[in-house]
């Protein structure tokens, strides 16, 4: 074994941490090598110093202080609620829980009402039926010969067919208002009927009599249909047949 190898093993040799065979080789080398013997001596002195690395003498008061703090901490932790107890306390009956539940119910009811109404508004047209006195001048929908004639989006309107949608404009002179109404409707024509009425195919028959003058006090059936477009609404007016027996036109609403 050479000096370099022995120098590497000396720290373990000095503490008797080498295996027996290795220790014997080191011992044999140290006996014959003054340098390695000197190094071994220095290691031993250092180890002696370690035994003087003693702590100060702590007083009984120091030890008692540590024990008391430990016992106090143990007592504090034993009275603190455990995780299970903390979790269970959340479910004890409390006024605040009752109030929160009531508030949640109220909010839920309002939310349901709001959502339900909104869904109804989005789902196709809905019919609103009125049976009311006519208290206005002749509607542009009503014509002397053949009642109101709404205008289709693309086609020439047929006199007795409701095809499209038009905006009603109330004027005193219903006959004169027909043409302007048509034009206005043509200018701002909405999508074709099929697009407007997703449920197209259903038809309504209304009896529409001749135009009523303002003095008419006959009962009129008024049908309103709200389309997908919130700005467009179809209104049918129908009134009961007059005594003179004038022919009624039937209108088909699509």
């Amino acid at each position: 074994m050479n000096c370099q190898q022995v120098q590497e093993l000396l720290p373990l040799y000095v503490g008797r941490d080498l295996e027996q065979t290795q220790a014997q080789l080191v011992a044999a080398h140290v006996e014959s090598c003054s340098d390695c013997d000197g190094s071994l001596h220095e290691y031993r002195e250092t180890r002696q110093l370690l035994h003087q690395f003693t702590p100060p003498q702590f007083s009984e008061g120091d030890y008692a202080g540590v024990r008391q703090r430990v016992l106090r901490e143990i007592a504090r932790e034993s009275t603190a609620p455990t995780l299970r107890q903390s979790f269970a306390s959340l479910f004890r009956p409390r006024l605040s829980w009752a109030a929160a539940t009531a508030l949640l119910l109220v909010v839920s009811v309002f939310a349901y009402y709001f959502i339900a109404n909104r869904r109804d508004a989005q789902n196709g047209p809905r019919l609103v039926q009125h049976d009311s006195e006519l208290d206005r001048p002749a509607s542009p929908q009503e014509q002397p010969n053949h009642g109101p004639t709404p205008v289709s989006s693309r086609d020439e309107p047929k006199p007795s067919t409701v095809r499209g949608v038009h905006r009603s404009q109330r004027t005193k002179n219903s006959a004169a208002a027909v043409e302007p109404t048509r034009v206005a409707a043509n200018k701002s024509l909405p999508a074709p009927v099929n697009d407007v009425f997703p449920g197209a195919g259903q038809s309504l028959e209304l009896n529409v009599g001749p135009a009523l003058d303002s003095s008419a006090a006959e009962k009129t059936l008024r049908m309103e249909m709200q389309t997908k477009d919130p700005n467009i609404r179809i209104i049918w007016f129908a009134h009961s047949p007059n005594k003179s027996g004038s022919p009624n036109k039937s209108l088909k609403g699509i």
Binding site: P11, G15, P55, Q57, V70
Partner: protein, 210 residues
Amino acid sequence: MALAVEIQLPGNALTRDQTSLTPLIERAAAGDTAAFEQIMIHSQQRVMAMTWRMLGNDADARDASQEVFLRVYKHLARFRQDQDFFAWLYTITVNVCRDMSKKRKQHGDRFISLTADSGAEAFAVPADQDDADEVLEQTQQRELIAMAMATLPHKERASLILRDVEGISTDEVARIMQSSSTTVRSQISSARKKIKIYCELYLKRKERAR
């Protein structure tokens, strides 16, 4: 040439006191704080000495000792009777000191100034060593070793203290450090080399200063 005397402490010193502790451990594990206090009284000197050597000052040693005993109490139910109680206690102590060192970042500041902190009078001076020069020399030697120990990494320091100061066998140190015997031997070898080099350099510098 001066004569150096090696002191080899018995390796089984740890297990001597355990038989008297077994009933106390059982009662303490069941929640008996009076029994746990008795356990603390049995082991407080060992724990405080270890924490002081690892951390280097009184205040940290007390705080660390408190934390050690709290952890012992908390985990006492997991302690098996076939285990060595003091080895288990040392494991907890080493871990607490490591955690505290990391937290306080005192790795490079572990040097204790004997005059500033504990005071030289706190160290036991044998009655037959009244010679002031001898006392001064001992104080300086303690200070030297403290400075040298402060330069060691945590694991090397713990291995060296357990092996050379507490006198625990290398295999037992490996169990305490939760490591292998080979690793512990390597750590001890490195620590002893560093201490020796540090002391040599310090003494040479001092010699040059004179």
